[in-house]
Amino acid sequence: MTDPNALSPLDLETPEKPFLDANELVINMGPQHPATHGVLRVILRLDGEKVLGLECVIGYLHRGVEKIGENRTYAMFNPYVDRMDYVAAVSNGLGYCEAVEKLLNVEAPPRAQYVRVILTELNRLTSHQLWLGTHALDIGAITPLFYTFRDREEILKIFEKYCGARLTTHAFRIGGLQYETYSGFEQEVKNFLNFFRPKIDEYEELLTTNRIWVERTKKVGVISGADCIALGVTGPVLRASGVKWDLRKAQPYSVYSKFDFEIPTGQNGDTYDRYLVRMAEMRQSVRIIEQAVEAIPEGPIMAKVPKVIKPPVGEIYHSIEAPKGELGYFIVSDGSTQPYRVRVRPPSFVNLQALDVMCRGAMVADVVAVIGTLDIVLGEVDR
C-alpha cells in the first residue's frame, strides 16, 4: 500500500491546474483557538489575506439550559442562569429574578433594589474589564490584561464577601436578596470607587492614543446603525454605531430611573469607537454606583414571596441591559411549580450574527479584533 501522506511528484509539463492556485481559500479558525474566547469555530473564505465571507459554527458548549429550566422549579433554575454569561452572572440573575417577580406580581423592596443595582453595575465593570484585557491581548497589547485583572480582583473580593462566590454568584433571590449586606459594605464600595476612578484613566493612557492600537482598531469591523438594528445587534456595539439606546433609559427597570447617568455613543461604528464607548460606560457605571451607595434606604430585603413559587398561568417577556446587550427572558407559566417554558434571549448569540457583515473585506488578522470587539461569551451563545 502506498503512503497516503506521500507527496505526488509535480508534473510541471502538463499542469491540470495552474501551479500557483489563486482561487479562494477556505480555512478553519477554531474551535480551539486562543482568540475565539471559548469554543467558536469560524470557517473563513479568503482571497489571499482578504476575507470574502465567513460562517460561524456554534453549539460546542450547548448544555440545554432552556430544557433544564422546564424541569426545575423557579427557585432551582436561578443558579443555572449564572452559568450562561459567566463573566456577568449578576446581570443574568437580575433579569431572571425580575421576570419571575413580574409573573408573580411582587416587587423587591427598595433596599434590595439598590443593592441589586450596585452589584449589577459592579458586575458590568468586571465584564468590561475582562473584555478590555482579552481584547487588547488578542490584538497584541499584553499589558492591559494585567492592569484590568488586578483591578477586577477588587470587585470579585466584594462579591465574595457579600455572597461567598466570585463568578457564579447567585446573588439575588426571587423577591429580593438572601443576604443582608455585610458590615462596612458601603464603605468598601466607596473605597473601591475612589481606587478605580484613576485606573480607568490608566487604561486609557495605555491605549487611547497608542499608535499601534489606533491603527489596529480604527476603521476595522465597521457596522452602521441601520445594519445593527436590522440584525438585532444591541449593547455597546449598537451605541458605538450612533444609536443612543440603552434599556436602562429606554424602558427603565429596577430603580435605574432614579439615577443620573448618560448613554455614551460613538459615530463611526468601528472597533475603536466600541472601545471608547465601553470605556465611557465604565465611568457611567461608577457614577451610578456612587449615587446608589449614598442612597441605600433601610428596610427589609425580601418581599413577601410564598415558600413554594407558583406563578399564575400566563407569560412574560422581560429584558434588561446586560453588559453585552439586551438580555431577555420569556417565561411561560402553567400554574405549576416549574416553568412551562423558559426562553433566554442572549445578547451574544444575536450579536455574533453580525460577525460576517463586519468582517467582509477585512484582513484575516482583523477577524480576531472583531471577535474581541463583539464581546461574546460562548457560554451564553450556546446556552
Binding site: I58, N71, Q251, E315, E326, V332, R343, R345, F349
Partner: protein, 158 residues
C-alpha cells in the same frame, strides 16, 4: 394600531394584554403579510426574538412567538401564531435579517420549518442529530445514542 389592523384582517387577529404587555394571537395564514406591515407601517424595526412553545395535548401543537420592538415608538409587541405539528411557516429573514439564526434555533429545537429561509440547518446541535430537544415528548435525559456512539466513540454521554 390593533384596531386598524383588525379593520383590514377581521377575525384573524386577537389582541390581548397580560401584566401590561401587549401581544396578539394571529392566524397562521396572515403571517408574512402581518409581520411585513408591522415592520414597514408600524415601525417595528427590531426583531428581538423568535421562539416557540410546545403544547403536546393541543390540536395545534406549537405556538410560534415573535418578540418585536420599535425604536421610534419605544414599544414592544409579541405576535403569536398557533401551528400544527409538521406545518411550516414562511421565513421572516427578508423582513429582519437578524431572524436568520433565531429561526434556525427554532428549527433545531422544535423541528418547525421556515419556508424560504436561506440556510435552514441545525445551529446548536450537530448536523446529524436526530430529534428536537425542546419538544415536550423529548425526555430530559434523552439523547441520540447512535450519534454519540459514532462520533464520540462512547456508549452514552450520560
Amino acid at each position: 394600531m390593533v384596531a386598524k389592523l383588525k379593520l383590514s384582517y377581521g377575525s384573524g387577529i386577537e389582541a390581548l394584554t397580560y401584566l401590561g404587555q401587549n401581544y396578539m394571537v394571529v392566524d397562521r395564514s396572515l403571517i408574512p403579510e402581518l409581520l411585513e406591515i408591522l415592520r414597514s407601517d408600524e415601525q417595528f424595526d427590531y426583531c428581538v426574538d423568535i421562539t416557540a412553545v410546545h403544547y403536546r395535548e393541543r390540536a395545534k401543537q406549537f405556538d410560534v412567538i415573535w418578540v418585536l420592538y420599535s425604536f421610534p415608538r419605544n414599544q414592544r409587541i409579541r405576535v403569536k401564531t398557533p401551528i400544527a405539528d409538521g406545518e411550516s411557516l414562511p421565513t421572516s429573514v427578508p423582513i429582519w435579517p437578524g431572524a436568520n439564526w433565531l429561526e434556525r434555533e427554532v428549527y433545531d429545537m422544535f423541528g418547525i420549518k421556515f419556508d424560504g429561509h436561506p440556510d435552514l440547518k441545525r445551529i446548536l446541535l450537530p448536523d446529524g442529530w436526530k430529534g428536537h430537544p425542546l419538544r415536550k415528548d423529548y425526555g430530559i435525559l434523552q439523547q441520540d445514542n447512535e450519534w454519540v456512539q459514532i462520533n464520540l466513540g462512547i456508549e452514552s454521554g450520560q
